[in-house]
């Protein structure tokens, strides 16, 4: 790909970006979120059309007008959010849209497809039942279906967009082996990631993107983590985190959860008989593969979901549950995973979003009337204190960047001195600078005595922040580890449902 540019209204996603990948190579595209990696690959797969630049494939210039053109040229992509049809079987998903061989016949013969899928999955070690429905599969299995789709179509180029975000460390290792095997057969694998050690582990060469531009292409073996990081961020950063001294914590229990059971969206049991406690100023990480009850637990604690059984005590006071205002009054702050949709009201102003929890307080309203000037002052205070970059307090929050949204939400939640903060995926989608800031705000709050329940799929983040780690699997706590002495492998094994030892 040479000199690719792509502009969206108000955003330049790619600006003269280029890279080349060879046959039999695992080529990594490394860059922060928003660096334009995904846009670049969406152009390569025909989903978007470039504004400028050219794509050459095996020496020939090509122009894709639709995803079908790219598929016919042998390019397949595994998107970060899978492109699977959930009610369909694995075989149906694999054959979908194919217009060769079995896919060409008018009548779909699932038997022949299932057989071929079975062959491919045993050849590449991608265990999955071809007759299973996709919604019944785990996330790891769904990813295997996506790779099988590419293999079935005999793709010559496979693009993997952030494939490890949803995997346990063990699953990620197996994935790397599959990708290497494919490269050894002469296929080209393009591996998109922002995680340095993964890129170094799997890739032959690395192209680093920053702000939509290609910064450099380097050999993965000779590159070091810190040289890659410097290329990615554009300045020297210290990759090795300073080891924190174990902190001494008080014995005051701020949050006590006992035998908590919570129902999921489909009426299933999402959280099963969970008990734990948080001390004042303690950060407890909740590790687990997405969809193992983390979201339901967070919603139950913050009053957004009914408690089916068990009790929750905050600062010694028992919560009835299912009432967000009760949780707020008791001192529970919540930074949800979906910060823009659940955490904020996107089209309301910064000011409205800041006071949306506290407008009832004496200082912000008088009877039915709102004290607009006081509200605005409060908002300006939080904007200053937490360094939120916004044109002004009247700007709709949907115009803020991800990092600033998160600073705003954190600022609002810290403003009414909570006892407990439940925070989910606090740094997902943020760039390195914003991640550092968010982490420092969380540490600061803990130092001030807030008990923090940190749910994250980023194990490095949990290990960097947490004092203790709870591992959840299928709604149950399957392990409790101390942060200092635990390896990633140990956590990963528990996350996959294995037992300790």
């Amino acid at each position: 790909m040479v000199g690719i540019s792509k502009r969206f209204p108000g955003v330049v996603a790619n600006d003269d970006a280029s890279f080349e990948a060879a046959e039999g190579e695992v080529h990594a595209l490394l860059g922060e979120n928003g660096a334009g990696k995904t846009t670049l690959s969406n152009i390569l797969t025909g989903l978007y059309r470039q504004d400028e630049g050219e794509i050459e494939l095996y020496g020939e210039q090509v122009r894709f007008h639709s995803p079908r053109d790219a598929l016919d040229a042998g390019i397949c992509m595994v998107h970060q959010h899978f492109r699977l049809v959930e009610p369909f079987s694995v075989a149906e998903n694999v054959v979908l849209g194919d217009h060769r061989r079995e896919g060409r016949r008018l009548v779909v013969h699932s038997g022949a497809i299932e057989k071929r899928v079975g062959e491919l999955s045993s050849r590449y070690g991608l265990a999955v039942n071809p007759r299973a429905r996709v919604w019944q599969l785990s996330v790891g299995e769904q990813q295997r279906v996506e790779i099988l789709k590419a293999l079935y179509r005999e793709a010559r180029i496979l693009i993997m967009d952030e494939p490890t975000a949803v995997l346990t460390p063990q699953e990620a290792k197996a994935l790397f082996e599959t990708l290497r095997a494919m490269a050894d057969e002469g296929k080209t694998v393009i591996f998109i990631s922002h995680k340095l050690h993964e890129v170094k582990a799997v890739a032959d060469r690395v192209t680093v993107l920053r702000a939509g531009r290609t910064v450099a292409t380097v050999d993965a073996r000779s590159a070091t983590l810190s040289s890659l990081a410097a290329l990615m961020v554009g300045r020297e950063i210290d990759v090795a985190r300073p080891l924190e001294q174990p902190r001494t914590l008080s014995d005051v229990l701020t949050l006590e959860v006992d035998g908590l059971t919570v129902a999921g969206d489909r009426g299933n049991i999402a959280v099963k008989d969970v008990s734990f406690a948080l001390r004042e100023g303690e950060i407890v990480g909740v590790a687990g593969v997405a969809g193992n009850g983390q979201r339901e637990l967070a919603e139950a604690l913050s009053g957004m979901r009914d408690l089916r059984a068990g009790s929750v005590r905050v600062g010694g006071k028992q919560l009835r549950g299912g009432d967000p205002r009760e949780a707020i009054m008791a001192g529970v702050a919540h930074v949800p995973e979906d910060r823009l949709g659940t955490g904020l009201a996107p089209s309301l102003s910064v000011t409205s979003n800041v006071v949306i929890k506290t407008y009832r307080s004496r200082s912000l309203s008088r009877g039915p009337l709102l004290a607009l000037r006081r509200m605005r002052e409060t908002a300006v205070g939080i904007i200053r204190r937490y360094d939120v970059k916004t044109p002004g307090p009247g700007t709709p929050v949907r115009n803020l960047s991800g990092g600033n949204l998160q600073k705003l939400v954190l600022g609002r939640e810290f403003a009414d001195d909570p006892l407990v903060l439940v925070v989910a995926q606090p740094t997902r989608g943020l760039d390195v600078g914003a991640i550092e800031t968010v982490h420092s705000y969380l540490r600061e709050a803990a130092a001030n005595g807030v008990a923090i329940l940190l749910m994250s799929e980023d194990l490095d983040e949990i290990r960097a922040l947490a004092d203790r780690i709870l591992v959840v699997y299928e709604g149950e706590i399957v392990g409790e580890l101390s942060a200092g002495s635990t390896s990633i492998e140990e956590i990963g094994l528990l996350m996959a449902g294995g037992t300790r030892g």
Binding site: F8, V11, A13, T45, L47, Y48, S66, P67, R68, L71, D72, M77, H79, F82, R83, L84, V85, E86, P87, F88, E92, N93, V95, L96, G97, D98, G103, R104, R105, L106, V107, V108, W135, K149, R266, G267
Partner: protein, 322 residues
Amino acid sequence: MNDTLLVIVLADAVLYGTPLLFASLGELLAERSGVLNLGVEGMMLFGAVVGFWVTQRVEGASASVLVLAILASGLSGAAMAAIHAFLTITLRANQIVSGLALTIFAGGLGLSAYVGTELGFSPDIPAKQHFGSVDVLGLADLPVLGPIVFDQSALVYASWIAALLVGLYLGRTRFGLNVRAVGEAPASADAMGINVTLYRYVHVLIGGGFAGVAGACYSLSISPGWIAGDTLIGGAGWIAIALVIFAFWRAELCLVGAYLFGALSALPFALQARNVDVAPEFLYALPYVMTIVVLVIVSTGLSKRHLGAPAALGIPYVREER
């Protein structure tokens, strides 16, 4: 034996159920591709008036005129659906609003009434042609089954073939698989090289064609003629929409549901003919009451997934969203 109440009601159930079957199969195709079209009532009425117009103005052998009329009904239904398709697929308008607007625009007080009046149709003008019953294989006199199955019009037989074809198409063919993918997960279908816009257009148009034919069932078969206003098809389009939900988005269950509602529509006439003393208002209301009851039952307790509603139903598809 063939004039017992049950046999008469069942035979009439098939007659009255046929337009419901056509219309719900059409709506099924559109909804399976992810487009909800609430304009069925309007598309049916327009198909009805155009079909009637062809039979009144075209001279020729009865069979060929009727075939031509049905084709014209289908095309006019599809033309109405094209408005909805353009608004909802290309312009991404709200599907509910657009569908309601289509019913008002094309419906009993809109375009079809205007066309009927302009052409000078009125209830006094007798139909020159209509679909009579065809005695297949000479089995019309067979006990019980004869009147119900073998003494129906060509439209009824066509509707059975249509139900069979739609069922096989959606369930067994490659194109059917693609349609279902477009209705369930348009982004996934798009990534796999399926043209989401094309599939949606085609199925909304075919759905409109079915609705047009369903309208012609009234003006050419059930009560041949044209009456401006809502009385000719009397809300059958709305029943057809409910039927798709009742049938869990499956063609074979559309058949069952259509005849159930057909029987409810036929019952009052059969009972009145026998001088059974029940308030006719109550009987006439029955299909509509049942529609509401069915919708309440299927909407409570069961989640969408269990019902089989296409996951992307009612949601416009946008690719370059940022």
